[in-house]
C-alpha cells in the first residue's frame, strides 16, 4: 500500500519545489509567477495583478463593498435565480454576503443531516470505524452532561452533541480549498443566533425546574437583592460574551492567515497557520462554546 503511493508523492514534491523556487524569483505582492496550463500548453506565467493586500482583505471580508468598488460582476458559485431572488429581497448592498453565508450554512446543514442518516442506516453490532468515531464523541459528551447536570437530565445530550458537531463542521469547512468556501461562524449573525438560542434554553430549563414565579423571584426581588437590574443586564452580557468569543477567534484567525501568507508569498507557512488557526483553535472554540452552554444550564438546575 505504501509502495504504491510513492510516485504520486514524489510528483507532488517536485511540483512543490518548483513552485517554491518560482515564488522566490517573483517580486512582491503585485507580481506573481504561476505554474499552469494556458490554451492546452504547459507554461510558466508571470502575472501582473492590480490587486494588493487591501483589495484581498476587502474581497474576503466585505464582499459587497469589494464588488461595489471594483464594478465587476460578482462571481456566483451556484444558482443565478437564487442570487437574483436575494438581490430583490435584501437589496444590492448586502445580497452577495447574504447569499454566501446562506449557501455555506445550507451546505453545513446538509452535511450534518447526511452524516446522521448515513450513520443511522449502518448501525452494526460490531461497529465499523466511522461508527466508533461517532460513538466515542457521543459518549464523551454524554459523560460531561451527566457530570454537570446529573443523571436524570441526560436528555440534554442530543442538543449538546448537535451544537458541538455543527460548530466544529462550520469551523473546519473554511479549510476546503474551493473558491467561495468560508466559515459560517465568521459572520457575527451565526454565533449570535446560537448564543441567543443557548440562553433561551437556559431560561426554559429554569422555568421547567422552578416554575415561572420561582424563576422570576430570583431576578425581580428588590428587598433581598437591591441590584437586580445588574442581573438582568448580566443575562444579555452572557449572549454577547459567548457569541463574540467564537466570532472573534474565527475572524481573527482568518485575517491572520490571509495577511501572514501574503507577507511570505504563500510559501510553506500557510499550512502551519491553517493547522493552528483552523484545526486547533476551531476545535477548542467549538468545545468551549458547548461547555459554556452546558455550564449555564447546570447553574440554573443545581441552585
Amino acid at each position: 500500500m505504501a509502495q504504491k503511493k510513492n510516485p504520486i508523492l514524489m510528483i507532488i514534491l517536485i511540483f512543490f519545489l518548483i513552485e517554491i523556487s518560482l515564488v522566490f524569483f517573483s517580486k512582491g505582492f503585485n507580481k506573481e509567477m504561476q505554474l499552469g496550463f494556458d490554451k492546452g500548453k504547459f507554461v510558466f506565467r508571470n502575472i501582473e495583478s492590480e490587486y494588493n493586500l487591501q483589495h484581498k482583505i476587502t474581497e474576503e471580508f466585505q464582499i459587497d463593498e469589494y464588488y461595489k468598488q471594483s464594478g465587476e460582476e460578482p462571481s456566483i458559485y451556484g444558482s443565478n435565480h437564487l442570487y437574483n431572488f436575494f438581490k430583490k429581497v435584501f437589496g444590492q448592498n448586502s445580497a452577495m454576503g447574504t447569499f454566501q453565508l446562506l449557501r455555506m450554512l445550507l451546505l453545513v446543514d446538509i452535511l450534518l443531516l447526511f452524516l446522521a442518516i448515513l450513520i443511522k442506516k449502518r448501525l452494526l453490532e460490531r461497529p465499523s470505524q466511522p461508527q466508533i468515531l461517532f460513538e466515542v464523541t457521543y459518549s464523551a459528551l454524554e459523560q460531561f452532561v451527566i457530570e454537570t447536570l446529573g443523571k436524570e437530565k441526560v436528555n440534554y445530550t442530543p442538543y449538546i452533541v448537535t451544537l458541538f458537531i455543527f460548530i466544529w463542521i462550520s469551523n473546519m469547512i473554511g479549510m476546503v480549498p474551493i473558491p467561495g468556501f468560508i466559515e459560517p461562524t465568521r459572520n457575527l449573525n451565526v454565533p449570535l443566533g446560537l448564543g441567543v438560542f443557548a440562553v433561551a434554553i437556559v431560561h426554559i430549563t429554569a422555568i421547567k425546574v422552578k416554575g415561572f414565579w420561582g424563576h422570576l423571584k430570583n431576578y425581580v426581588n428588590p428587598v433581598k437583592n437591591p441590584l437586580f437590574l445588574l442581573d438582568i443586564i448580566g443575562e444579555f452580557s452572557k449572549v454577547v460574551s459567548i457569541s463574540f468569543r467564537l466570532f472573534g477567534n474565527i475572524l481573527g484567525g482568518a485575517i491572520i492567515i490571509l495577511v501572514v501568507s501574503s507577507l511570505v508569498s504563500y510559501v510553506v507557512f500557510p499550512v502551519g497557520l491553517t493547522l493552528f488557526f483552523g484545526v486547533f483553535v476551531g476545535t477548542i472554540q467549538a468545545f468551549v462554546f458547548t461547555m459554556l452552554a452546558l455550564t449555564y444550564i447546570g447553574v440554573e438546575i443545581t441552585e
Partner: protein, 83 residues
C-alpha cells in the same frame, strides 16, 4: 479614493486607536494564560495521573480568559474597517 483633511485625520486616529487597543488588550490575556499554563504544569508535576483532566480544564480556562483579548480584537477591526 480622495480624502479631505478632516477625513484623513479621523482615519489616522482610528488606525492609531486600533493599534493601541490591540496592544493594551493583549497584555491581560497574555499574563492570565501564562499563569494558567504554569499552574497546570505544577499540577501535572504533582499528580501525573490526572494529566488529561488538568489539560482539558486548562484549555477551557485559557479560552475563557482569552475573551477579553478577543473583544479588543473585535473593536480594533471595527475601528479599521468601519471608519
Amino acid at each position: 479614493m480622495e480624502l479631505t483633511l478632516a477625513q484623513g485625520i479621523v482615519k489616522a486616529a482610528a488606525l492609531l486607536g486600533a493599534g493601541m487597543c490591540m496592544g493594551m488588550g493583549a497584555l491581560g490575556p497574555g499574563v492570565g494564560e501564562g499563569f494558567v499554563a504554569g499552574k497546570a504544569c505544577e499540577g501535572i508535576a504533582r499528580s501525573p495521573e490526572n494529566a488529561s483532566l488538568i489539560t482539558r480544564t486548562m484549555l477551557v480556562g485559557q479560552a475563557v480568559s482569552e475573551s477579553t483579548g478577543i473583544y479588543s480584537l473585535v473593536i480594533a477591526l471595527l475601528l479599521i474597517f468601519s471608519t
